[in-house]
């Protein structure tokens, strides 16, 4: 997770945070008029952006998603729930690039879902990350006893998964070559030593999945079984959400930066020979 803090040293990454947040908010705000649960959830085709930002801009995408969602709330729905929205959207932007690195370690690591395998991994990542984001926000509002866990969770999951799967692959295939051409991929901007190394990457991947799915099942069972209200759900989910955080730490990301450097060096070698 070191890169989440070291990225602020790079002016380009700071600008990418601002631009990502502005794009996300600019597409969110016109749809504020169509809330599903007012003050918390609207119809959000813009929710494809955190996945796209994350895979292209790495940690800048995570901050961009969190700030963009907060700014979206600045235009009429700023509530105490905005704190949960900030954290949930941060993880919505943080986990995709980290999980991608766990599936594609060396060789073709480009986040461009142009093969069947990459597309399948992308879809799986969208589903688990949407579960984690929804669990965090639903956990937060349940803990504050603002809304029941189940409807909030199901609405946020569908609101993230549908645009993520329907729009995400098309956007990534269209945008990846251009962003690479601009030299704005996070793996090209950041240095390997600024990114935390992957420790027990497979375990980190498993912990994120166990945490996300565990939080979903536990929250749904507690509410459906009538075992308690928001406080019970809130306390019971803490271990699962901690698993996600630990998993995110273990996933690292340095290998992606190193792989990108190797690819750039391989691309530059023939050019140097011809010149």
């Amino acid at each position: 997770m070191k890169e989440v803090f070291t990225m602020w040293r790079h002016t380009q990454m700071v600008v990418l945070v601002a631009l990502s947040a502005a794009i996300y908010a600019a597409v969110l705000i016109p749809l504020k008029g169509f809330p599903i649960i007012p003050g918390l959830i609207e119809i959000r085709p813009a929710n494809v952006f955190p996945f796209v930002f994350s895979l292209l801009f790495g940690p800048a995408g995570a901050w961009g998603a969190a700030i963009g969602n907060l700014i979206g709330d600045f235009f009429g729905t700023l509530t105490v729930g905005s704190i949960g929205g900030f954290i949930g959207n941060f993880f919505l932007g943080l986990l995709p690039y980290k999980l991608w690195g766990a599936f594609f370690r060396r060789g073709d690591v480009e986040p461009n879902p142009n093969t069947a395998k990459k597309l399948a991994v992308y879809v799986a990542i969208v589903i688990i990350v949407s579960l984690v984001c929804a669990s965090i926000i639903a956990w937060f509002v349940a803990l504050l006893e603002l809304f029941p866990f189940t409807p909030v969770l199901l609405l946020i999951v569908s609101n993230n998964v549908i645009p993520g799967i329907v729009l995400g692959p098309i956007l990534l295939i269209a945008l990846y070559p251009r962003v690479k051409q601009f030299g704005l991929l996070w793996t090209e901007i950041m240095e390997p030593e600024e990114v935390s190394a992957s420790r027990l990457q497979t375990l980190g991947n498993v912990l994120v999945w166990v945490g996300g799915i565990g939080a979903l099942i536990t929250g749904l069972l507690i509410e459906a079984g009538g075992f308690g209200g928001g406080i019970t759900v809130g306390l019971a989910l803490i271990p699962f959400l901690l698993l996600v955080v630990v998993g995110a730490f273990l996933l690292g990301g340095r290998e992606q930066v190193e792989a990108a450097e190797e690819m750039m060096a391989a691309d530059e070698a023939p050019e140097a020979r011809t010149s």
């Binding site: 794009i23 007012p38 700014i71 729930g81 509410e223």
Partner: protein, 259 residues
């Protein structure tokens, strides 16, 4: 398009330091969570509305009234169905669950109205400077303020691109739900590219002006914490303390709700 909620008025609330306004907003969020009795929460809402009236910012209620009404209906219905109480009212609904739903609706409505008042009396630049002066790292505060400033520009770009794409036959309204979402692709790709391609020029412009060169920053917008801020915070602290004491004494709760 002007999505900003800021209303340029000359009231004592507008003149408060942005840090004071942020603390008052956070304090109001806490105040909304002290009570659970709808009557007490209605009192808190009345105070918030009075503050909004004094700040001449209630005109913005027109922009959020739909959200407030929808929150009230959805919260009341959801909790009446999901919650349980002791006094049967009709079918599966119990009196305490209905009261709880109304209380939660009031809680959320209070935070929405308080957020709206804060945004009506605080400029974006003040929010960014206030964040930095509260100790938030400058680069983070800069990203927030830049994003806030760029939102109307990107929204206007999106509108222009939308008109251009419609003139080429783009129809956002046709098809089923999935097709409608997919219809957004010709809109989202140009908005993204036209914004992101300015990153390198933007970064160079910032660095040429010394962005990140010095450790201690100065600000064009100067904010200062004065006697008005001290009085406002002291009055609010007394109000919040009184509310907490009242709740600790057993008032303002809701008996019989079973979650």
């Amino acid at each position: 398009m002007d999505p900003s909620l800021y209303l340029a008025r000359d009231t004592f609330v507008h003149r408060l330091d942005p840090r004071t306004k942020m603390l008052l907003l956070l304090g109001t969020f806490v105040l909304a969570f002290v009570f659970l009795d709808p009557l007490y929460l209605a009192g808190v809402m009345a105070l918030v509305l009075l503050f909004g009236y004094l700040a001449e910012s209630l005109a913005n209620l027109r922009r959020v009234w739909f959200i407030l009404v929808a929150i009230t209906i959805i919260s009341t219905v959801l909790w009446a169905l999901f919650g349980s109480g002791q006094t049967p009212l009709f079918l599966v609904v119990e009196w305490e669950a209905l009261l709880y739903g109304i209380a939660i609706a009031l809680r959320i409505d209070i935070t929405v109205v308080a957020g709206m008042i804060f945004l009506s009396v605080t400029r974006n630049e003040e929010i960014a400077t206030g964040l930095a002066r509260l100790g938030i790292p400058y680069r983070f505060a800069f990203a927030v303020s830049t994003a806030l400033r760029l939102v109307p520009t990107i929204a206007a770009t999106g509108s222009t691109i939308g008109q251009a794409q419609r003139s080429r036959g783009l129809d956002l309204e046709s098809g089923n739900a999935l097709e409608r979402i997919r219809n957004y692709v010709p809109l989202l790709v140009p908005v993204f590219i036209s914004t992101i391609r300015s990153t390198n020029v933007f970064s160079m412009a910032l660095e040429s002006k010394g962005f990140g060169a010095g450790s201690k920053r100065t600000f064009f917008l100067r904010i200062s914490f004065g006697w008005r801020d001290a009085v406002a915070l002291a009055l609010f602290a007394a109000l919040l303390g009184g509310a907490i004491a009242l709740r600790a004494a057993g008032f303002g709760g809701l008996e019989g709700f079973g979650g």
